[in-house]
Each structure stands twice: as structure tokens, then as C-alpha cells.
């Protein structure tokens, strides 16, 4: 007797849900929501910083996901495809709030950095998520995109409409702020 569901079995179910959701089946849509909502909400929280904004972005993200589902052709991970949608939705929301255009003096930011290692490995996901969400919007966005999503500074600059220098400086400030807050606690 198979005690654990094989990855193939899970992927088959996922495909069924995706197909059902494309056809407008509410159960399939709910299944997809249940499958993705936790991870996507964590992403929204990391980008938006507060729960209310994160809930709005999560809502918008799922509406966009279901409306764009027809364009997902099964190439690549569905979760990865969904993640892009939610990151973009979060960025759009932040762009609307005009909180991303901040410029900093790189030298001044560098001086804030500490050389001591950050005890990140002792933090749980929720704690780290909290610290990230407490960062100012601009720092938080660049930090999320560079450190977690893996964007380059050039890509961040193009996406957010800022200079590469600003992206780098905001990352430095974000790291410094994160380090100091984690150390305090």
C-alpha cells in the first residue's frame, strides 16, 4: 500500500485542478487557492509589510491568476508561474503607492553595515517574515526581489523604474536595518 502520495500523483491532481479552473469549476478554483494561498500570502506579506495591504494584494493576485490561467500551458512549475503573478501584483501595488523611489548615498549606507554575522539561522520563518515586513517599503521591496526572488540590480531597476545605484543602496540599507533589528531581539 502506498503510504505517501507520489509526486506524479500530486502533479496529476494539480493538472486536473488547473484544467477544471480553466473551465470555471469552482471546486477546482478553490483547490488551487488552498494549494497556493499560504505561500503566496507569505510573499505578499514580505512585500507589503502589513496584513491589510497583503490581503488586498493576495486577493488581486488570485483574481489575476484565474483570469490569466488560460495562458498557462503547463511549461514550468505552476507554483513558479503563480509566484511571478503575485510578485508583480505586489510591485504594482507598491508602485501605485509611490513608495519605491528613494535614493540613498551609497557611502552613507555602507557605513551602517556591520561585519558581524547575522543570527538569521536562529530565526523561524515567521520571525524572519516579521522583520522583513517591518522594513520600509523601498528597502523591503528591493530586499525581497534581490535576496529572495533572485532579481539582479539591473532587473530591479528596470522593474521599479529606479537606478541601479538606488537599488544597490536600498539593499544595503535593508540588510543593515535587518541586522540591527535581529540583533536587538
Amino acid at each position: 500500500m502506498q503510504l505517501f502520495k507520489s509526486k506524479e500523483h500530486l502533479n496529476t491532481r494539480e493538472s486536473d485542478w488547473i484544467q477544471g479552473a480553466k473551465e470555471g469549476d469552482p471546486r477546482s478554483q478553490k483547490a488551487i487557492y488552498d494549494m497556493l494561498s499560504r505561500k503566496m500570502f507569505a510573499i505578499c506579506l514580505r512585500y507589503m509589510g502589513d496584513r491589510e495591504s497583503a490581503e488586498d494584494v493576495l486577493q488581486d493576485g488570485f483574481v489575476t491568476l484565474f483570469s490569466k490561467l488560460g495562458s498557462y500551458l503547463g511549461e514550468g512549475s505552476f507554483e513558479g508561474w503563480a509566484r511571478k503573478i503575485f510578485v508583480n501584483t505586489a510591485l504594482m501595488s507598491l508602485r501605485k503607492k509611490d513608495v519605491l523611489k528613494q535614493s540613498e548615498d551609497v557611502d552613507a549606507a555602507w557605513s551602517i553595515l556591520s561585519d558581524e554575522p547575522t543570527p538569521v539561522q536562529n530565526l523561524g520563518y515567521n520571525e524572519l517574515l516579521t522583520y522583513i515586513s517591518e522594513l520600509p517599503a523601498g528597502f523591503r521591496t528591493v530586499f525581497n526581489m534581490y535576496v529572495i526572488e533572485g532579481y539582479s540590480h539591473k532587473e530591479i531597476a528596470e522593474e521599479l523604474g529606479i537606478s541601479e545605484t538606488t537599488s544597490r543602496s536600498q539593499l544595503l540599507r535593508a540588510r543593515a536595518l535587518l541586522q540591527s533589528r535581529i540583533k536587538k531581539h
Binding site: P26, Y33, R38, F41, D56, D60, F62, S67, K84, N88
Partner: protein, 364 residues
């Protein structure tokens, strides 16, 4: 890794998503609407409860229209000549085919591990980018709104049921059902014509009836009906010069009223408890002289009503959505009512066993 962190989202997010998908609304409602709609609906419901007795179609009409105004910026075109409950149903099912949602092609996002070229193209659904896929439309059917509407309507709709039942009562000191029960004369009125010379042997009390039940709320319902009861007993008695076995048969016509409370209700069965009372009128009280060669019988009229109160529990097995069979064991106490002597007067606390079939006539 932090990118795989998970945080549980509030259930209201899914409700908002499902309603927006179903209505084809791309833009989220303004944040203040999130609080304004339930707040205003609560005020309206409270005002309706306080100022309007009972349910009326006009109250449903105004609440449904107000909800329509608040929850959807677009004016829903519902014909005015449709009755109010149907307007609600039309509101729930109304879903104009939304304007085509133009989707942008999501290109591969370059990551540190992915070398695919090209920037991320992030477009709002309402913007038509240079490269757009064919429009995706939300189906006309409005399953989420309909399911939510059905839940709301079911919780407030009065379900009416017709009931046909039969009942047997305990005849052996009110606790067992035996072919013949025995008992000494109790509080009942003795016959003025027939003299009883021995204790009575009772037959099993039998009742048949029809009734109707009204749902007051999802758990409470009230039932009333009409039933016919046959009581029988025999004893050694004398009438004039006759002495021998005497059979006494009484027929009652009664109106029972019960209040039911469902404490468990599924698609297959329902558990409930009930309590109520009944008033019965004696239609006939006949004594038959069994050993009399002339087979004489004597009728002695009764006056007044037999009052009783009872409580019990029941289980209904649903044969279909609208038909179920039920079993109701109950105890019933028959008050001293100056009625002819019977098992009820001799053993006023009785165990009854009722079974019947129930038809829901408006449970759609």
C-alpha cells in the same frame, strides 16, 4: 528557505476572490466598502427585526435592493414586476457577461538560476499590452453567488411539511406493549349504565393522523394536526340482567401541537427532540355485551376534552430530499379530564411509539 514560507490567509480573502471571479469584476472594491456593506446590512437587518413584525415581502425586497446597490457599482437590471423573492434569486444569478479581460503574456522572469532572457512584463488586467492573448471571459453562471444566496435563503425560508403517522401506546402500566394489559380502575368516570366487576384488560391504544409542520428557523419547527385514536378494554361487568364479559371501545379525535428542535440534520437523517400537547374529544364510548345473545351494545356519551402533554425524541431517515420516514418514541401524560375510564385514566403516564412519513412540499 524563506521563499517557501507559508502564512495562513483569512477566509474573507477567498470569499472576495470567489465573488470577484464570479462577477467578472477586475477591480477590487474600495477598502471602505469592506466594512460599509456588512455594517449597513447589519443595521438594516436589526431595524427590520425591531420595526417590522414577521417577514414580509417588502422587507426582503428592500434589503435585497440595498445589497445590490452597495455591493455592485453597476446597476443590475431586474424587472420590477417579478415578485420580491424572485428578485433576490434574479439578483444572485445576474451576471452580465463581463468585458473581455485581456491578459498579458507572462514571460519567463530571469532569476539568478534561470538564464532566460527578457524582462518581466507585468501588466494590469485592464491594460492592453502589445502582446496580448485572446480574451478570457468569466462564465455567465454565478455558482458562488448562487450557493451563498441559497444558504441565505435556506436559513430564512419556511419549510412546510405534510405528515402522515400512526402511533401505538403502551398498555401494560404504560411501559410495555403487550397484547393485553391489566389494571385496576383509576380516575376515569365509571359508566352509569354498566357496572364493572373486575379490573380491565387493555388493548394497545392505536392512533392515526395527518399533520403539517412549519419551519420557524433552521432548527425549530412547529407541527399541528388531527389524529384519531382507538382505545379498547374489556372487563367483567353487569348491565341490567346481563353479567359477563364487557368490551369498551372509545374513539377520540384530537389536535396535537408540538414544537420540534433539530439538533442534528444531515442529508441522510435528522435527530430531533420535541414537546407539546394535545386536546382530544371523545367521539364515542361504546360498551358491548359479548356474551349477550342479543349482542347488545350501549353507548355512553362523554363530554369535555382529554388534555395531555408529552415530550420525546425522534429520528427521521430521508428517503429523498423531500421525503422522509420517522420514528418518535415519546412519553405522554394524560391529565385528569373527567373522561370515560380507559387505559389513559388508569395509567396516565404512557410510553408511545409513533412512526410516520413526512413530505416537504416547498423544500427546493
Amino acid at each position: 528557505m524563506i521563499e517557501n514560507a507559508e502564512v495562513k490567509a483569512p477566509s474573507r480573502v477567498w470569499r472576495a476572490v470567489s465573488s470577484r471571479i464570479a462577477s467578472g469584476t477586475a477591480a477590487a472594491p474600495a477598502a471602505w466598502l469592506r466594512w460599509a456593506v456588512p455594517a449597513l446590512a447589519s443595521v438594516a437587518a436589526l431595524a427590520a427585526v425591531i420595526f417590522l413584525p414577521g417577514r414580509s415581502e417588502s422587507r426582503i425586497h428592500s434589503t435585497g435592493d440595498m445589497f445590490a446597490q452597495l455591493s455592485s457599482p453597476a446597476q443590475l437590471e431586474i424587472p420590477a414586476d417579478i415578485p420580491a423573492p424572485e428578485r433576490l434569486r434574479a439578483f444572485a444569478r445576474t451576471s452580465k457577461t463581463p468585458a473581455a479581460v485581456t491578459t498579458a503574456t507572462v514571460t519567463d522572469t530571469p532569476t539568478k538560476t534561470n538564464t532566460t532572457s527578457g524582462p518581466v512584463t507585468a501588466q494590469a488586467p485592464e491594460v492592453t499590452p502589445e502582446h496580448s492573448t485572446p480574451a478570457t471571459t468569466v462564465p455567465d453562471a454565478d455558482p458562488f453567488a448562487l450557493m451563498a444566496f441559497e444558504d441565505r435563503e435556506a436559513s430564512g425560508r419556511t419549510v412546510i411539511s405534510l405528515v402522515a403517522d400512526g402511533m401505538i401506546g403502551g398498555n401494560d402500566a404504560g411501559r410495555t406493549f403487550s397484547r393485553r394489559g391489566y389494571g385496576a380502575p383509576g380516575e376515569g368516570s365509571a359508566s352509569s349504565m354498566v357496572t364493572e366487576n373486575s379490573a380491565s384488560t387493555y388493548g394497545v391504544p392505536v392512533s392515526f393522523g395527518l399533520g403539517i409542520r412549519f419551519g420557524l428557523s433552521p432548527r425549530f419547527s412547529v407541527g399541528a394536526g388531527v389524529n384519531y385514536t382507538l382505545l379498547s378494554r374489556s372487563f367483567l361487568g353487569s348491565y341490567g340482567s346481563y353479567t359477563g364479559d364487557v368490551s369498551n371501545v372509545q374513539q377520540y379525535l384530537g389536535v396535537p401541537v408540538n414544537l420540534y428542535y433539530d439538533f442534528f440534520n444531515t442529508d441522510v437523517f435528522r435527530f430531533y427532540t420535541f414537546a407539546g400537547g394535545a386536546a382530544e374529544y371523545c367521539l364515542s364510548n361504546k360498551f358491548s355485551l359479548r356474551d349477550d345473545p342479543l349482542h347488545k351494545s350501549v353507548s355512553e356519551p362523554a363530554s369535555g376534552f382529554q388534555f395531555s402533554a408529552g415530550l420525546g425524541f425522534g429520528v427521521e431517515f430521508k428517503l429523498s430530499r423531500n421525503v422522509g420516514i420517522y420514528i418518535d418514541p415519546a412519553v405522554r401524560y394524560y391529565f385528569k379530564s373527567n373522561q370515560p375510564r380507559s387505559i389513559r385514566t388508569d395509567h396516565p403516564l404512557m410510553l408511545n411509539f409513533e412512526a410516520g412519513i413526512k413530505f416537504d412540499i416547498n423544500n427546493k
